[in-house]
């Protein structure tokens, strides 16, 4: 992997308000930073927008999952009722497609829902047992509570310990800390 496993992961700036975070993130993105991320205790759409994250592939995964569920159940029902175990139920045709719609519908939803949930987790790289950001004590205690963070990562070509620290301090954050691996 290209990601270094020693040294520092990045520089982490802590902000008091969502507005301050979005302002800093926008400035960093405009300055050419690409390996950066924002952290907030609730979904902060503006922050994702300014760092250039507009679209995600969860809807596509959900659609594919749903179609798979639909096809799987409908073909299973058809195969069972016409070939594997044909039963005469009140003289109705063995291929009674209207009756097959209901379980096929349920499985469409089942597969689509599971794809949405597990697809979202997979795209997010979760579950993960370790992440370097949790080495920063202020991140641990307040990232999921009430503070807003911007992390400029060491893998970005623009990264330089002193210069980046100065750059971040220009946005008047509560603090800027180095995050170790």
């Amino acid at each position: 992997m290209a990601v270094p496993r020693e040294g520092i992961y990045g520089l982490l700036a802590e902000f008091e308000t969502p507005t301050a975070l979005v302002h800093a993130a926008k400035a960093a993105h405009d300055a050419g930073w690409r390996r950066l991320d924002c952290y907030a205790p609730y979904p902060l759409e503006e922050a994702a927008e300014v760092i250039g994250f507009h679209k995600n592939r969860v809807p596509l995964l959900t659609l594919v999952g749903g179609l798979m569920g639909l096809c799987a159940m409908f073909s299973l029902e058809t195969w069972i009722s016409t070939l594997a175990y044909p039963l005469n139920i009140a003289g109705r045709p063995t291929y009674s497609w209207p009756a097959f719609v209901v379980p096929a519908y349920e499985w469409t939803i089942l597969f689509a829902g599971l794809s949405a949930a597990f697809g979202m987790l997979a795209l997010n790289g979760l579950p993960s047992l370790y992440h370097p950001l949790f080495n920063a004590p202020n991140f641990r205690s307040s990232a999921t509570v009430d503070k807003f963070f911007l992390c400029l990562e060491a893998t970005d070509p623009k990264f330089d310990r002193a210069e980046t620290k100065n750059f971040l301090e220009g946005f008047h954050p509560n603090s800027v800390v180095e995050v170790e691996y």
């Binding site: 308000t17 969502p18 507005t19 302002h23 926008k26 400035a27 991320d37 924002c38 907030a40 205790p41 609730y42 979904p43 902060l44 759409e45 503006e46 922050a47 994702a48 760092i51 994250f53 969860v58 809807p59 749903g66 159940m73 299973l76 069972i80 009722s81 594997a84 039963l87 139920i89 109705r92 009674s96 009756a99 097959f100 209901v102 379980p103 349920e106 499985w107 939803i109 089942l110 689509a112 829902g113 599971l114 949405a116 949930a117 697809g119 979202m120 997010n124 979760l126 579950p127 993960s128 047992l129 992440h131 949790f134 641990r140 205690s141 990232a143 999921t144 509570v145 009430d146 946005f171």
Partner: protein
């Protein structure tokens, strides 16, 4: 008209809209987190919780006894026989699953309609859904006669070379209810992941950090993660909405596809769904009113919530009333002797009392009083009303099942139905199971979604002009 009950200085009113406030003023990110998380993180378990849990556990033990005896003796210990071959098991199944539907309605449909007020109540309403589905699912499982073979319901390759019959609504039910249970659990858990992250970061105990850390899956609140998370939540809501409608529709097919007078009717699907939501909101009120009192959550679950739930009950109660009216009308309009007799027998036969209990509890009492906002925000009134409506909805299923069956086409085969002590013990026992599960939930899991409440706070908004100006 009802607005006159409140003056403009009333602190419960939002001056901007004139509506009741969704959240009490003066909350911050920190106070919301502390309020919700500390209910769980306190090392002190209250005496009241322990007492309720022991009651719940004892009643659940009674369920265990009843079910053990059932497994030893068979379903003959219940009152079901000819002509009433479906009894308490199906009544309780439909009743419990109907209660569950309000949780999905709150978490999914109201999310799609951007009803922000739902955020305070959606977590525990969804927990209620899951526990209600557990209680509901128990009944068909123990009713199949040989429950250890219940897996025969699913299509799987077996040495008997036998496959299920896909033209039966009872098999549709298997798929509808199992999908519903799975999606409800997944939706609930996805909603919990970021809050488990907060719990992990807040708890002082090593063990708590370990457990909540595992449950949070390593959530760290990256905005990229949040965006995918929001998309997945919306998609799950969009999927759960048709699902919840289909589940009760399929359950109504169990009846409506039969040719029995009283069951064979096309009004069943919408009227079952509305009834489910009606009883479910009543159950949410039964749980929410004591919860907010005990845990001092009046700032988060406000009068607005109680008021809105009353309005939903009023609307769904109206649909249910239309359903009852249409059943009576069709019995007459069909000009079918059997339909007419069934309806007459349902109202004035030996079990006619149950029909009038249903009319009183579901229509006469709630639909005349819930119009008044002063009463809709009166906690005692709403609590009593929620119990009345749930009693009424139980009787609705009793009336549909029993009074359609006990006097069918041939007078020589008429009979009656009298539940046995095992029926009552099983039904009462599921309350113990529900109560125990719900108490465990409020002790170990944050019962209000913290990140969704934070989104609603005024400080959560980004000021666009300040972003540009660099303030």
């Amino acid at each position: 008209m009802a607005t006159k009950d409140f003056t403009t200085e009333d602190p419960r009113l939002d001056p901007a809209t004139g509506e009741l406030r969704v959240l009490a003023p003066g909350q911050s990110f920190k106070s919301v987190t502390a309020k919700i998380a500390d209910i769980v993180l306190t090392p002190h378990t209250s005496l009241g919780w322990l007492m309720l849990f022991s009651i719940g556990g004892s009643v659940a033990t009674m369920l265990l006894v009843a079910v053990t005896w059932l497994f030893l003796k068979g379903v003959g210990i219940w009152a079901i026989t000819q002509p009433v071959a479906w009894g308490f098991a199906i009544i309780n199944f439909v009743w419990w699953i109907g209660i569950g539907h309000a949780g999905t309605l709150i978490s999914a449909i109201l999310l799609l309609f951007k009803q922000g007020w739902r955020n305070s109540i959606n977590r525990f309403a969804e927990a209620m859904t899951i526990f209600a589905v557990v209680c509901a699912g128990l009944f068909p499982l123990i009713h199949v006669g040989r429950p250890w073979l219940a897996y025969w319901l699913f299509p799987y390759p077996n040495t008997m070379n036998v496959w299920p019959q896909f033209r039966s609504p009872l098999l549709w039910d298997v798929f509808a209810v199992s999908t519903y249970a799975t999606i409800s659990v997944v939706f609930w858990y996805v909603g919990l992941v970021p809050d488990f992250g907060t719990m992990r970061d807040r708890t002082k105990s090593k063990f708590g950090q370990y457990i909540y850390g595992m449950l949070s899956l390593g959530w760290r609140g990256s905005v990229r993660h949040w965006m995918r998370y929001e998309t997945a939540s919306l998609l799950l809501a969009g999927l759960a909405t048709p699902l919840v409608l289909s589940v009760h529709t399929v359950i109504s097919f169990d009846f409506a596809v039969a040719i029995l007078p009283g069951w064979h009717t096309t009004i069943f699907p919408p009227y079952f769904v509305a009834g489910a939501v009606y009883s479910g909101f009543a159950m949410v009120l039964t749980l929410a009113i004591p919860l907010r009192k005990v845990y001092h959550l009046e700032g988060l679950v406000t009068d607005r919530h109680i008021d809105n739930m009353g309005k939903v009950m009023l609307a769904t109660g109206g649909i249910v009333a239309y359903g009852y009216g249409m059943e009576v009308f069709m019995a007459w309009y069909s000009a079918s002797h059997w339909e007419l007799f069934m309806m007459w027998n349902r109202m004035f036969g030996p079990m006619g009392w149950s029909y009038w209990v249903l009319i009183a509890c579901n229509i006469a009492i709630p639909l005349t009083t819930l119009w008044v906002r002063k009463w809709r925000t009166n906690l005692t009134f709403m609590f009593v009303m929620s119990l009345i409506v749930n009693t009424g909805m139980w009787f609705e299923r009793f009336v549909i099942v029993v009074t359609s069956l006990y006097r069918d086409f041939l007078p020589s085969s008429w009979g009656t139905y009298r539940a046995t002590k095992w029926d009552y013990m099983t039904y009462a026992g599921t309350f113990g199971l529900f109560l125990s599960l719900f108490l465990l939930f409020i002790r170990f899991v944050p019962m209000i979604p913290m990140h969704e409440i934070k989104m609603m706070l005024p400080t959560a908004k980004v000021k666009p002009e300040a972003v540009e100006a660099g303030d």
